[in-house]
Amino acid sequence: MNILVFTKRVPATQEEELRIIEEGQGIDLSKVPFKVNDWDNYAVEEAVQIAEKTGGSVTAISIGDAESDEVLRRAIAMGTKDGFLIETEKVLHDPNARATLVSEFLKKEGISYDAIFTGVQSEDDQFAAMGGILSAKLGLPYSSMVIGIDSFEKDHVIARRELEGGLQERIKMTLPCVLSIQSGINEPRYVSIMGIRKASKVERKFFKAKAYGDNISSTIEVVKWVYPPKKGGATMLSGELEGICKDLLGILKEKGVFQ
C-alpha cells in the first residue's frame, strides 16, 4: 500500500499574542516558533502504521518555504520512506490554489499512489478544504474527518467518519482515494531529536512550485487582517482564594443548582 501524506509546518500560535502589522496587511510571526501541524502528525502516524501492516511505503509531501523541510525530516523519522518539498515563494492561502498546485505536481512528476492522506485542517488557516478540492481535481473518492480505518484492502478501504454528537458513519471507498485524517485516530509516536538527525540522512527531494503552472492563481484574497471583536466579557471574580470560592458557590446557589 503506497500512501502519500501531506504535512505542513505551521506557527505555534496557541500560546502567543499575535500582532497585526503593516496596517492590516500582515501578521507578525517573527517571534513565533514553528511546529508540525497537529492533524498532519496523526495523518503521518496513520499512514506509517498502515504501511507497516500491509507492506508498502509512505511518502511525505510538504508545500511551503524551504524551512518546511523540518516537517519532512520529522515524517521520515516517524517512518515514511522519503519526503518531497514543493517550495513556494509566497504563502498560498487559497486551498484551491494549493490543491491545483499539488494535482499538477502529481501529474507532471508521474507519481503513483494507492491513497492520499491529509490532516483534517491546518492550525494556521483552518480552511479544512485542501483534501476535498485535491480529490475532486484528481477525480478520486474523498472522505474527510476519518476517525478510524477499519480495513485497507487491495481495491477498497472501509473507514469511519466522525459526525457530530459522538455519531460516526461507516463508508466504503474504492482505491485510489483521498482521506483527511481527524485527530485522535491514533497515538502518534514520539520522535526524538536524534531520530530526526538520523532522518536528515535520508535524501529529501526539492521541487519549485512555479514549475507546475504559472496559471495557478488564487481565487480568494485577504483584504485585511483584523482582531476578533471582544465580546462583552466575563465578570471577573477577584480577591483572596477563599472569597472567590465563596462567591462562586453563591452564584451556583443563585442559579439553583447547588444548595
Binding site: A12, E15, P33, K35
Partner: protein, 364 residues
C-alpha cells in the same frame, strides 16, 4: 557509551546500598538494585518501570563500585525515547521543550514576563559590566506560584548592590530534566543554544535560581570557563558581610529541607542554613533525614511532568507529616520543584512552605 555502562554494571556486587537509599525502591514496582541485576543479564525491563526514578542521585553517591545506577536509568530511558515508547505526558513535555524551550509549552516570548513589571530594574546581561547572569529556570519564569522567586532574588541582589542581568526570552531550558528523561539529542540542542548565547554576551558568572539549573550548567555543560553558583552561595556571604541586613524578626519554627540537587549532589548544605540562622527569631529545626541523607521530594527525574501508575504514600506527604510532628510552622527550602511538590500536602496539613527568598523578603 553502551559498552561503558555494560562494563560498569558487571562490577555491581548487588550489595543493595542503592535500594536502601532510593526513595522509590521497596515502595513501588521500581527497585534499583534489581534493575542493575536485570541490566547485568540483559533481561527485559517493563517499559513503565524506568520512569519512577526521581534522579535524586543517592544510589550513585553511595554505590561502592562506581556502577552509577542513575546513569544506567537514563540510558534505559534513552532507549525508550528513541523508540518513541514513552508516556504521553513525557512526550508532551519534550515536544513543548523543543518548540518553546520550556517543558510547559508556554510562549517563549513571555519568558521575561516576570521582570517586566517589577519595581526594580532588571537589565539584559549585555548591558552589565560584570556580565553576571541570573539564570531564571522555566518553572520560575512561567508558574505564577514560583514567579515570586526570581522577583524576590532580583530585589535582594539589588539591595545588596550586586550587579546582574538576565537573558529574558533568549534563555532556553537548562535541560537538566530533559537529560534525565533520556532525550540526549534535545539536551544537546538546549546546551548548544544556551552556550552560544553565553558566549555571545561574554558571560563571566552565572547565578542559578534553581539547583536543577545549577547542576546542569555546572556539571553537564562542559568547561564553560564561567563561575556558576546557586543564589544562596552569594546571599550567605552578603549577609555575613552586612551588605544585606535582616532587620525584622521572623518568629517562627522553621524546618529546612535539603533539595537533592543542591545538597547531596552538589554539597551545598550550610549556606541556606546560615542565611536562616542569621534571621532573628527563627528557631531552626532539622528533619531526621537531612543534609546528604535528605529525603527526595520526588519532583525530579521527569516526575514533575507526569504521574506514575502505582498508588503509594508520597515522600512529600511523609516529609510534611514529619515537619508537623516536629512542631514546625514553616518548611523552608530553596528549590522550586521541592516547593511545588511539598506545597500540596502541606496545604492539606495546615503548614506553610516558603522558599528562602520569600522568607528573606519579609525580614530585609
Amino acid at each position: 557509551m553502551l559498552n561503558q555502562t555494560q562494563t560498569r554494571v558487571l562490577t555491581c556486587i548487588q550489595c543493595g546500598k542503592c535500594a536502601g537509599s532510593c526513595p522509590e525502591s521497596g515502595r513501588t514496582p521500581f527497585n534499583i538494585r534489581m534493575l542493575m541485576r536485570k541490566k547485568q543479564f540483559q533481561t527485559v525491563v517493563e517499559e513503565s518501570i524506568p520512569w519512577y526514578c526521581t534522579s535524586c542521585g543517592a544510589c550513585t553517591i553511595r554505590c561502592p563500585r562506581d556502577v552509577k545506577p542513575s546513569e544506567v536509568i537514563i540510558e534505559m530511558r534513552s532507549a525508550l525515547v528513541e523508540n518513541g515508547e514513552i508516556p504521553v505526558a513525557i512526550q508532551k513535555a519534550l515536544e513543548n521543550t523543543f518548540v518553546q524551550k520550556n517543558p510547559w509549552g508556554r510562549s517563549r516570548a513571555k519568558r521575561g514576563a516576570w521582570f517586566e513589571k517589577l519595581d526594580v530594574e532588571v537589565p539584559h546581561v549585555r548591558e552589565t559590566e560584570s556580565k553576571r547572569l541570573l539564570f531564571t529556570c522555566c518553572i520560575q519564569a512561567y508558574d505564577p506560584r514560583c514567579m515570586v522567586i526570581p522577583q524576590n532574588v532580583a530585589k535582594i541582589l539589588n539591595m545588596g548592590g550586586i550587579e546582574f542581568g538576565v537573558l529574558g526570552e533568549e534563555e532556553a531550558c537548562c535541560g537538566n530534566e530533559i537529560r534525565r528523561i533520556g532525550e540526549s539529542g534535545l539536551f544537546e540542542e538546549l546546551q548548544e543554544e544556551n552556550k552560544a548565547v553565553f558566549e555571545e554576551y561574554g558571560i563571566k558568572e552565572i547565578i542559578a535560581l534553581s539547583p536543577h539549573c545549577m547542576n546542569a550548567l555546572k556539571k553537564e555543560y562542559g568547561d564553560l570557563g564561567i563561575k556558576i553558583s546557586h543564589y544562596t552561595e552569594l546571599l550567605a556571604p552578603m549577609i555575613e558581610e552586612g551588605s544585606i541586613v535582616p532587620e525584622r524578626p521572623y518568629n517562627k519554627k522553621v524546618i529546612y529541607h535539603d533539595p537533592c540537587f543542591l545538597g547531596k549532589q552538589n554539597g551545598i548544605f550550610d549556606e541556606p542554613r546560615n542565611i536562616l540562622k542569621a534571621i532573628e527569631g527563627i528557631e531552626l529545626l532539622e528533619f531526621s533525614r537531612c543534609r546528604d541523607n535528605s529525603m527526595c521530594c520526588e519532583g525530579g527525574g521527569g516526575r514533575m511532568f507526569f504521574e506514575v501508575e502505582a498508588t503509594y504514600q508520597r515522600n512529600a506527604e511523609m516529609r510534611v507529616q514529619e515537619a508537623v510532628d516536629k512542631g514546625a510552622e514553616i518548611i523552608a527550602t530553596c528549590c522550586p520543584f521541592c516547593v511545588m511538590t511539598l506545597e500540596d500536602p502541606a496545604t492539606e496539613k495546615g503548614i506553610l512552605v516558603r522558599e528562602l527568598s520569600e522568607i528573606l523578603m519579609e525580614v530585609l
